[in-house]
């Protein structure tokens, strides 16, 4: 047997050999990660970036090999989003650059929409085409009839372009299809939203409650890292999920709740915390408004009442409420991220916010910290024109509490109706595959067919590009500069993205495209800097750094404005609500005619033979945008359908069998999906990872792999408060015979 002791010796031997070969570095203490010479590695060329594979935006370094080729991406140690450790998608970001299916040159459609017939065009030709159409729309309908959908860093510049043109209809599906309800709910309660990254103090928490949030599969890097730290420190995790998620497997308590009943459980916890006097009395008295009304409203929500609805036994509800109380204020009832489920999502998020307020976790260590952000000055340009109309005019008196534009709202307002004088006529779509993002595909396609112009900017030939009039190929984030990254965190930080390589093929960065279009539209005054480098340097110098410095360090930390991450004892805090207090009773909701305190309403249940369709994330993929990435495809190349063994037995399903799915509206999945029989899911639900089942043949690797949940989401439950699209009210049944599916599909 070899002695482990000799490990040290090889280090010496290695150093000796290398020294003899002339290398100037000889590491000895490999365990500590440092060596005695102070040099840990040979000088390698590295370029700072921040990741664009998801929207956590971790900062990292791009390394090249000795041939000058992009080799690997490693996290930046200074960055609070990643602490030097990228997630699998960030590490696999090189695949985005290497993907041979990338969009390579501008394309102009030569056939009707949806028939994938394009011709290659020059950039100038593409810009002329777009500018002419934009001008025509402005002339006939007004410039505000053009909208931008964006989900990505470069979208900012198209937003600036659109505002200069005279429209502020700029929507991100990350709002009304994802985190919008919780933003509105926390705004109503604490006077501020959560943003990204959420200010959850997970690393110091003693108890974290996840309501359907699947951290770990949902690879929000910093939070997953902190959850791991919390596990190390013995924190109690309580997971509420109809599926035994990865997070559930790390939890002390798993509450396998009947889907769509979460609000009943939350109300019952609120009831218990008040009744048992578990709440933080001093905090509630000092900071909150409406405690009496809340106590009155929840007095009948006993655990026994909730048991009948949620199927969670009363003693488990009591035990978990006690766990939260024991940990308070170092407790986090996590607000989640994708929360557009059942149409009453703002109210469910309100219940989560109220629970946190009662436990006194907002502004407290182990609860929610006070984040800070660096303000980057906008570059000098003429005032944007005030548009005469916005998307809100299409929905008079509705969704007034929505603080951002609704992507689905703009989509709906594109389909002409007699009651509205103007519909949207032009879409610019940046980095978001609306076909797989917006629920109810039929509706999306109908809207698209009513457009005079659709421009899509992307790196990959996603489904949405097939419907575009003009496709503009963007280079990947490894080949471009972008706006300075600013995100709220414990310390105010900025990060730089700069190119590590020339753009491949005939692709270009967003800033250049937006500026070229501005020139064609006579809006050059709004883009005073010809090169983005000069713009970034101008902005960076305004905040006391420079492009040169940022190229060297990648991430810069600025001094904090607050002394403390948490409220000091007896600190007077003014909350940005109507009452200046944390509103347990929401005056804003009451003013708009909504329940000021959440109430439970039952949601439809699946008919016999149907199962509720639940979808989620895999840690190695981001929505539908990464499934063709060669590195990430290699980690996961299709999704599967989680089915409880009882259900499988009833249908005589076998593991690995491929079946089609049909939903309540007779919509059939385009491709079959592989069955995964597992005890890890309830018998009334099935689960799949979102982002597969691509129907776009130009995505050669991922085409036809797995099923698309979005295609099966035709029933949308709209949130009356902020217009979010509840997507978990869809039920599917199984089609075992492919011919049957083929006929109907």
């Amino acid at each position: 047997m070899t002695s482990r002791r000799q490990f040290i010796k090889i280090s010496f031997a290695g150093a000796g050999t290398l020294a003899a070969g002339g290398a100037a570095w000889g590491a000895v203490k490999w365990i500590s990660g440092k060596d005695e010479t102070g040099i840990t590695e040979p000088p390698l060329s590295r370029t700072p970036t921040y990741c664009e594979v998801c929207f956590w935006k971790c900062a990292g370094w791009i390394y090249k090999d000795s041939d000058g080729q992009i080799w690997k991406i490693i996290g930046n140690d200074e960055d609070l989003n990643c602490n030097g450790r990228l997630c699998p998608r960030g590490t696999g970001g090189v695949g985005m650059y290497n993907d041979e299916d990338r969009l390579k040159t501008p394309l102009i459609r030569v056939e009707e929409r949806g028939k994938q017939v394009f011709r290659e065009a020059s950039w100038d030709e593409a810009f002329t085409y777009i500018a002419d159409k934009m001008k025509a729309i402005a002339r006939e309908h007004g410039p505000e009839c053009i909208a931008l959908f964006t989900h990505g860093s470069g979208g900012k510049y198209f937003g600036d372009l659109l505002q200069a043109f005279g429209s502020n209809n700029i929507a991100a599906p990350s709002y009304a299809q994802c985190r919008g309800p919780r933003e509105v709910a926390f705004m109503a309660t604490f006077g501020e939203g959560l943003e990204s990254p959420e200010p959850t103090d997970i690393r110091d928490t003693k108890c974290m409650v996840l309501i359907g949030s699947h951290l770990g599969e949902n690879m929000h890097n910093g939070q997953v890292q902190e959850m791991s730290d919390a596990i190390d420190k013995g924190a109690v995790i309580i997971t509420v999920d109809p599926r035994f998620s990865t997070a559930a497997s790390k939890s002390k308590y798993w509450l396998p709740i009947k889907p769509a009943t979460d609000l009943a459980l939350l109300l019952s916890w609120i009831h218990l915390i008040i009744k048992e006097e578990y709440y933080d009395k001093k905090y509630v008295e000092k900071y909150t408004y409406g405690f009496r009304e809340l106590s009155e409203a929840v007095k009948n929500y006993t655990p026994e009442w909730a048991y009948g609805i949620t199927t969670i036994p009363p003693d488990l509800i009591r035990k978990t409420a006690k766990e939260m109380a024991n940990a308070a204020p170092a407790v986090i009832v996590h607000p989640g991220r994708h929360v557009t489920w059942y149409g009453d999502d703002t109210q469910r998020s309100r219940a989560i916010a109220i629970l946190n307020a009662l436990l006194g976790s907002w502004g407290r260590r182990g609860g929610f910290y006070r984040s800070e952000i660096v303000e980057i000055p906008s570059y000098p340009h003429p005032e944007f024109v005030e548009p005469s109309k916005t998307w809100r005019d299409a929905f008079p008196g509705k969704y007034v509490l929505a603080d951002l534009a609704l992507a689905n709202g703009i989509c709906d307002a594109t389909i002409p109706v007699t009651t509205r004088d103007c519909s949207f006529k032009g879409w610019i779509v940046y980095g978001t595959n609306l076909i797989e993002t917006l629920p109810n595909q039929k509706n999306t396609l109908e809207a698209i067919q009513n457009l005079d112009l659709m421009v899509v900017i992307d790196t990959m030939p996603m489904e949405i590009t097939g419907w575009a009039d003009v496709v503009l190929p963007e280079c990947t984030y490894l080949e471009r500069y972008d706006s300075i990254r600013v995100v709220p965190h414990r310390l105010p930080q900025i990060a730089l993205r700069m190119p590590a390589a020339e753009p491949k093929y005939n692709s270009k960065p967003a800033y250049w495209m937006a500026r070229q279009l501005a020139l064609k539209l006579g809006l050059e005054a709004y883009f005073p800097f010809e090169k983005i480098e000069d713009l970034l340097d101008w902005q960076l110098k305004k905040i006391g750094t420079s492009l040169d410095e940022m190229k060297r360090i990648g991430v810069k930390t600025f001094p904090k404005a607050y002394d403390n991450l948490y409220f000091a004892d007896d600190e007077e805090v003014e909350f940005f609500t109507n009452t200046g207090k944390i509103e347990l009773y929401s005056t804003a909701f009451a003013n708009e005619g909504f329940d000021p305190i959440p109430t439970y309403t039952a949601h439809p249940e699946p008919p016999p033979g149907y199962y509720r369709l639940i979808y989620g994330r895999a840690p190695m993929h981001t929505f539908s945008r990464t499934s063709n990435n060669p590195n990430l495809f290699d980690l996961m190349d299709e999704n599967s359908l989680w089915v409880n063994p009882k259900v499988a037995k009833e249908w005589s399903l076998e593991n690995g069998q491929r079946i089609y799915l049909k939903n309540q509206d007779e919509v059939v999945s385009e491709f079959p999906i592989k069955v995964r029989i597992t005890e890890r899911i309830r018998w009334d639900s099935v689960y799949m990872v979102h982002g597969f089942g691509h129907a776009e043949k130009r995505l050669r690797r991922t085409y036809g792999r797995g099923a698309s949940d979005t295609k099966l989401i035709t029933n949308v439950m709209l949130d009356p408060i902020m217009g979010g699209t509840g997507m978990r009210g869809n039920f599917v049944t199984f089609i075992l015979n492919p011919e049957e599916a083929g006929v109907k599909a």
């Binding site: 040290i8 290695g14 060596d35 990228l86 699998p88 791991s228 035994f244 798993w254 890890r680």
Partner: protein, 173 residues
Amino acid sequence: MAVNTRKCVGCSDCVVACQTENSVPIGFCRDWIVEVNNGTYPQITTEIRSERCNHCDNAPCVRCCPTGASHIIAGGIVLVKKTECIGCGACIASCPYDARYPHPSGYVDKCTFCEHRIKNGMLPACVEVCPTKCLYFGDLDDPNSDASVVLKKNRYKTLIPEAGTVPQLYFIY
């Protein structure tokens, strides 16, 4: 090396970091994720493990190698000398952990614990990247190494100990 299965979320970052660091061809891997589920609803346990070569003290792959390409270096790392490997695959067949794969260039490849990095004072790529910090690397004879410290404090096991290979990958559970 020690792997804390209580923290691992199975994200596969270790896999892709290894692939890029070591230019492992797409379609192959030197490390991988295993998920083991037990129990029936709703009493279920799930163990997630990041696995790789166990760098066995009694390595069957080394014993069966006809050319001596598979060898153990001082310190205990099991390596393959590419230039001496004839790609016969005996080692692949003998490994109870299925830790080796045939590289398209004609030799057999496997985890090296990133020997090129550790001898320069760095951690293996998988350990350095892991978002949950569930991988611990270090000299098991040094009581103060990361791996020794974490193993002292926790319950652990090895995989297929009955094969008698004396594996050196420890799983905290």
